[in-house]
């Protein structure tokens, strides 16, 4: 699983999904985990009217921030720089990794300890660091587990949600030197704690993501439960934060409603154990904290989503994961089947901008458009509308597809398009329709035995011997 998961051919996606659907243990695992998260979220929002008002506010804050995004980024950069935090801009994952490696090499860094960061997964930072001879260790317990297993996170909030404790117990006993098998969760966590403590104390650089950036104060806000985020941003001499350009708000007072929506929607907590607000490196006279703080701002296709007024709403996302927790498709196929860094409904609408529609259009079709994701989204992203839009983009004629989404038109097939045109004409002209149905009932023996997706689960369709029209006329 260590190979880059950049390309998602639709048949591979289907095979991966099929494999999960046919695995009862995984089905039980995901169903249980999703029920757990759904119930925890629901318990945090007992008053629906209050929830709807808070969602309105969250949506308004995110839309307002996006409407001023270029200005806010400049204000943020100026404020952070004045506070002593160094800001770097990255167009592509390669840029981001190059910037990171330059910072690391300037420090002579050998070891990096990582707090949880999905953007670092998006750019495959660990891969790049490994290639540059720098050790990168994940410290979030879930991330540590998937790294130990040579896998990728299957959920953006709970990375190891696909694993049972017995699997984790076996993994620890096999991969951590001197560890005996135990399936006590407390003992497993203490084993992880012990291994990682030594790493916090000796790592040269700590890495983190960011949940919200505040332009007016130049502040990076991070939420977490374990304390590894605080460790990574407090103990090593250098802290490097990496995040997407969309995660900025203007005012500090915009933070409390977003945090409240985030933690309650994600894990059903009124607040996480720690909310960490970082506004500068260690100041002279202070006893601890990193001497240097860097922020890498990543574009990687976000400006493409931004350019289109409808697709822009994709960037409202605060990465709570509620859409995947409530998605009937995610619940059945899990996070790995998608083959992208961000799985589930949010992954289906953000990945085409990061990777291009040519490799991701199949994802947008893997939805019943039931709308559960939009119903729970704390910032009201109209996910089903965006899925339909992306499908439309994918099936456009490449010659006239336009530039709204890279890879638009890649699902286009001239044969399919000709068939649809024929179908439309048949239904437009009564004479043609009658001719078609007359032929269909006479030539019914020519109907193919396999009819694409239909015959995977159904008996093949065949036209009736006599047309409905004829039967009506005769009686």
């Amino acid at each position: 699983m260590n190979q880059p998961l950049h390309f998602v051919p639709s048949d591979e996606f289907r095979q991966r999904a099929q494999a999960v659907v046919e695995n009862p243990a995984l089905q039980k695992s995901f169903r249980g985990a999703m029920d757990f998260l759904q119930n925890k979220r629901l318990a945090q929002f007992p008053d629906d009217e209050a929830l709807q008002r808070l969602r309105d506010l969250g949506e308004a804050i995110r839309q307002y921030s996006l409407s001023k995004l270029p200005d806010l980024l400049e204000t943020l950069e100026a404020k952070l720089t004045a506070n002593g935090i160094q800001v770097h801009w990255a167009d592509t994952p390669e840029d981001a990794n190059r910037i990171f490696i330059e910072i690391a090499q300037a420090q002579g860094a050998r070891a990096v300890i990582k707090g949880k960061s999905m953007v670092s997964e998006e750019v495959e930072l660990n891969h790049a660091l490994q290639a540059a001879g720098i050790e990168a260790l994940e410290s979030d317990m879930g991330e540590y587990i998937v790294q130990l297993a040579d896998e990728k996170p299957s959920h953006i909030i709970m990375p190891a949600i696909h694993k049972t404790k017995v699997e984790i117990a076996e993994l620890f006993a096999e991969r951590i030197p001197g560890v005996d098998y135990t399936d006590s969760v407390d003992e497993l966590i203490q084993i992880g704690r012990k291994v990682l403590r030594d790493k916090f104390a000796t790592a040269d650089i700590g890495v983190s993501g960011v949940n919200v950036m505040v332009a007016e104060t130049g502040t990076l806000c991070l939420v977490e439960n374990e304390g590894n985020g605080r460790m990574s941003t407090t103990v090593p001499r250098v802290h490097v934060a990496i995040t997407g350009i969309e995660k900025v708000v203007e005012k500090l007072t915009h933070v409390p409603p977003l945090l409240s929506l985030l933690t309650r929607s994600a894990t059903g907590q009124a607040i996480t154990t720690y909310v960490n607000m970082i506004s500068s490196p260690r100041k002279p006279g202070e006893l601890d904290g990193p001497d240097e703080v860097h922020l890498i701002l990543l574009d990687n296709g976000r400006t493409q989503a931004y350019a289109d007024p409808q697709l822009r709403s994709t960037l409202q996302c605060i990465r709570c994961g509620a859409c995947m927790n409530h998605c009937p498709v995610y619940t059945r196929i899990g996070g790995h089947a998608y083959g992208t860094t961000y799985p589930g409904p949010i992954g289906k609408i953000i990945s085409p901008h990061l990777l291009g529609l040519d490799s991701t259009y199949a994802l947008a079709t893997a939805s019943t458009l039931c709308g559960a994701c939009a119903e729970v989204c704390p910032v009201r992203i109209p996910i089903p509308d965006l899925l339909i839009r992306l499908r439309t983009e994918a099936y456009k004629n490449p010659a006239t597809a336009g530039e709204a989404v890279r890879g638009a038109g890649s699902a286009y097939s001239s044969l399919a398009m000709a068939l649809w045109h024929g179908w439309a004409a048949t239904y437009r002209y009564p004479t043609l329709y009658r001719l078609f149905t007359w032929c269909a009932s006479r030539l019914r023996f020519l109907t193919p035995r396999t009819q694409g997706g239909w015959t995977r689960n159904h008996v093949a369709m065949q036209p009736a011997k006599r047309r409905f029209r004829d039967r009506m006329n005769r009686s």
């Binding site: 995004l69 270029p70 439960n225 304390g227 350009i245 500090l252 006279g285 202070e286």
Partner: protein, 219 residues
């Protein structure tokens, strides 16, 4: 491409979209302060913290030293790392039994080894408390290092009842946070925890396994 060019390209692309400016949402009005008296609010904070597995104690200002001694002896704290802000208050430590040694933290990089390996508990003041979520607010500063509330297995936090407010928003507005924040503000609402293994809650992930709050009832 140079850093400057990348930055400019990203900003240019965003500006080219010509997004329609929207009115700034007022998040403050959303958080109306509940009409509670201070003691009720403090009770709520303590209840919320207790429900989140924090251990809560109460003490008068005069008896704080005794209270700390009781906590330290119960928890068999042999080495207590103390934030510089608390050191001048000798009365805090005069009751401390001989089983508990005090480590005055003056330079964290010097004391880091001890903090990670031998210190049993870290003692800090708090900037304030938030009733709504049962949260301690800690501001970093010259005399308030960040590691004491994070690295040792037990964190003992002194909270003055008069510093408890309703919500984070409330505290931000009252104290005009938008005019300037310290290097680090951290909100703490429970001992360190994780549910990353099969959704089973376990305490003491990377931070303190125990969080002890000592509420000082000011007169």
């Amino acid at each position: 491409m140079s850093q400057q060019n990348i930055r400019q390209r990203i900003l240019d692309k965003l500006r080219a979209a010509q997004a329609v400016p929207l009115p700034c949402p007022d998040a403050v009005v959303f958080y109306k302060e509940t009409m509670e008296d201070q003691p009720t609010r403090v009770e709520r904070l303590m209840l919320n913290m207790k429900n989140a597995m924090a251990e809560v104690h109460r003490s008068s200002a005069a008896d704080l030293g005794l209270c700390l001694n009781k906590i330290c002896s119960e928890k068999q704290v042999q080495l207590l790392a103390v934030a510089p802000e608390l050191l001048p208050d000798a009365a805090l430590f005069e009751h401390m039994g001989h089983q508990t040694k005090i480590l005055p933290v003056t330079q964290c990089h010097v004391d880091q080894e001890a903090l990670f390996n031998t210190v049993d508990a870290g003692l800090t003041l708090t900037h304030g408390g938030i009733a709504e979520t049962g949260t301690l607010v800690l501001w970093s500063g010259d005399e308030s290092p960040r590691m004491l509330s994070l690295v040792p297995p037990v964190h003992i936090a002194i909270l003055h009842a008069s510093c408890v407010v309703e919500s984070l928003m409330d505290m931000m507005i009252r104290e005009k946070w938008s005019t300037g924040l310290p290097t680090n503000v951290v909100l703490i609402s429970s001992p360190s925890k994780t549910a990353d293994i099969q959704q089973t809650l376990a305490y003491g992930a990377h931070g303190p396994k125990q969080l002890v709050v000592v509420l000082v009832e000011d007169r």
